[in-house]
């Protein structure tokens, strides 16, 4: 396992990493005259935890928004599951099996935790309108299955106690966990986490790290996450992309990245002040 950049290997802790699930080819994203992302390419393998790190304003969130369809890049190609993806709306990307969480949390504040997580199942509901309204036939069966899966996820993330609580009343750390639960409920092929540990205290960060690792281990979910906390990322991820000023300045295992001079400069601030 010297060269892991091609995928198809087994990690030290025994997880199987498959071939390329998603590939970004020469992505450039501009807002008017501002270049947010400049000619970046990287890939994500099936089953791995892939991190995108970089200082503030490096273009990490923009990159994630390109992957999830919230932005469409001016140049470059997005390849997902072996085929080139045409420009898409965010909801179409979600229907393709890419779920995400947000840096500033986007939950349905007025709904209970359970209802929030259930919305993650929307793309999997196929029963007809009438069948759903009278609660018979296909709809009933579907609803039962969805509920089972959702309850399993709720158990898994240890939020049983707040199942019926309206999300608006929850503290920040729990909201982040509910958001993760909703994304997981979609049984995504690729899970995108935008700063899952931002604004958390040490204990909450440890919990969240454990959940991310467990999700990847238990469900085999491929995860791409953004963080600017270096320490956390290095412990979590299999491979790391480092961005600075919209450019890719490093890509590789945590160890490789840690020893990359450009990365050190970016983080220690040589280039900034």
């Amino acid at each position: 396992m010297n060269d892991i950049s091609g995928g198809n290997y087994t990690t030290a802790d025994g997880r199987k990493i498959g071939s390329t699930l998603m590939e970004m080819k020469n992505i450039t994203l501009r807002f008017g005259g501002v270049i947010a992302i400049k000619d970046i390419s990287f890939d994500i393998h099936e089953g791995e935890i892939r991190a995108i790190i970089g200082p503030n304003g490096a273009g990490k969130s923009s990159m994630l928004n390109v992957v999830s369809g919230f932005y469409n890049p001016q140049e470059g190609e997005v390849w997902f599951r072996g085929s080139k993806r045409p420009p898409m709306k965010p909801y179409q990307v979600a229907q393709q099996g890419i779920a995400r969480t947000f840096q500033n949390i986007a939950l349905f504040e007025g709904m209970s935790v359970l209802d929030n997580v259930m919305t993650g199942r929307l793309t999997h509901m196929k029963a007809g309108l009438l069948s759903q309204m009278i609660w018979k036939g296909k709809a009933e069966k579907e609803e039962t299955e969805n509920r089972e899966l959702v309850e399993k996820i709720i158990d898994f993330l240890e939020i049983q106690a707040i199942r019926k609580t309206p999300v608006g009343r929850l503290p920040y750390g729990l909201k982040k966990r509910v958001e993760l639960a909703r994304a997981l409920a979609a049984e995504p092929k690729l899970l995108l986490l935008d700063e899952p540990m931002a604004g958390m205290n040490v204990e909450e960060k440890e919990d969240m790290s454990r959940f991310i690792l467990d999700v990847n281990d238990e469900f085999g979910t491929t995860i791409a996450l953004i963080e600017h906390d270096m320490g956390v990322v290095m412990d979590l991820s299999d491979r790391v992309v480092v961005m600075d000023y919209g450019k890719k300045i490093g890509d590789g295992t945590p160890d490789e990245v840690r020893n990359n001079q450009e990365v050190i400069d970016a983080y220690l601030g040589v280039a900034h002040d």
Binding site: F108, M118, T123, L129
Partner: protein, 328 residues
Amino acid sequence: MPEQFLFAIEVTLNGLMAGVLYALVALGFVLIFKASGIFNYAQGVMALFAALTLVGIMDGQVPFSHLINAIFGTEIHHFGWHVPALLAIILTACVMVLFAWLVQRYIFRHLVNQEPIILFMATIGLAYFLEGVGDLMWGSDIKKLDVGLPQGINEWIDETTFNAFGYGFFIDNLDISATIVAIVLVAALIMFSQYTKQGRALRAVADDHQAALSVGISLNFIWVLVWSIAGFVALVAGIMWGAKSGVQFSLSLIALKALPVLMLGGFTSIPGAIVGGLIIGVGEKLFEFLVGPMIGGATENWFAYVLALIFLVFRPQGLFGEKIIERV
């Protein structure tokens, strides 16, 4: 029982029936406001337009006949057929869905993320545009709408109450059917929004756009859907008002009566729209009955607004609205 008291009960019952119609119009407002944050000033005109279209289709009227005749010098007014009520209602519902799609595609899609006041202005424009189109399409004369609902005094209630109290209540059959239709409609709406995938998606969009997108909901689809439902609700309201007092352009003024209803019930609550409508309906009829004679009558014109004003002072979010608490 004293005559006066029985009379008051009869007035209350009639007020409830009138309130149902207010509630129907208010319901259309709430649906759109909840899902898209747009206060749809055109809801009343939509009811008028739906009723006009329904009458036009039933009578086999040629749309834009005045315009066509003026341009081509022809004399066509009618296709010469009559469409049965049920089929005409279905066709009109289709027209309202088409209208919803057009509104979404050509107006509100270009106004996403604009200030609420701009969206509101757009709906005012839409209201007057639609009123003009309605006039041009179907003509401005008062039309009779008869979809086969029973009309006139309900004999059974009249007789029963007469035998029991010595005074027969006057309840219009049309009001009774309006109430039943409204109950069925509201029940269907609640079932739709609570149990179906689209209903869940609708509630999700009402709550948070970004989150809705991330779970695979198309905002555009939901907005077209909600305008279609509001259009259908407008159609039902239009049928009821039209059957009661003829399809005329003053129908669009009901929209203004829905405002106090919404202030009372809260802009985001379906039960609020219904309860608000009933309170206004009963309130204005009772007030006219009890206080009206003392101050020269015609209180129905302003009572609802004064009541709403008083409500605004004490409970600005309405009876069922969400209390707005900003965390600092």
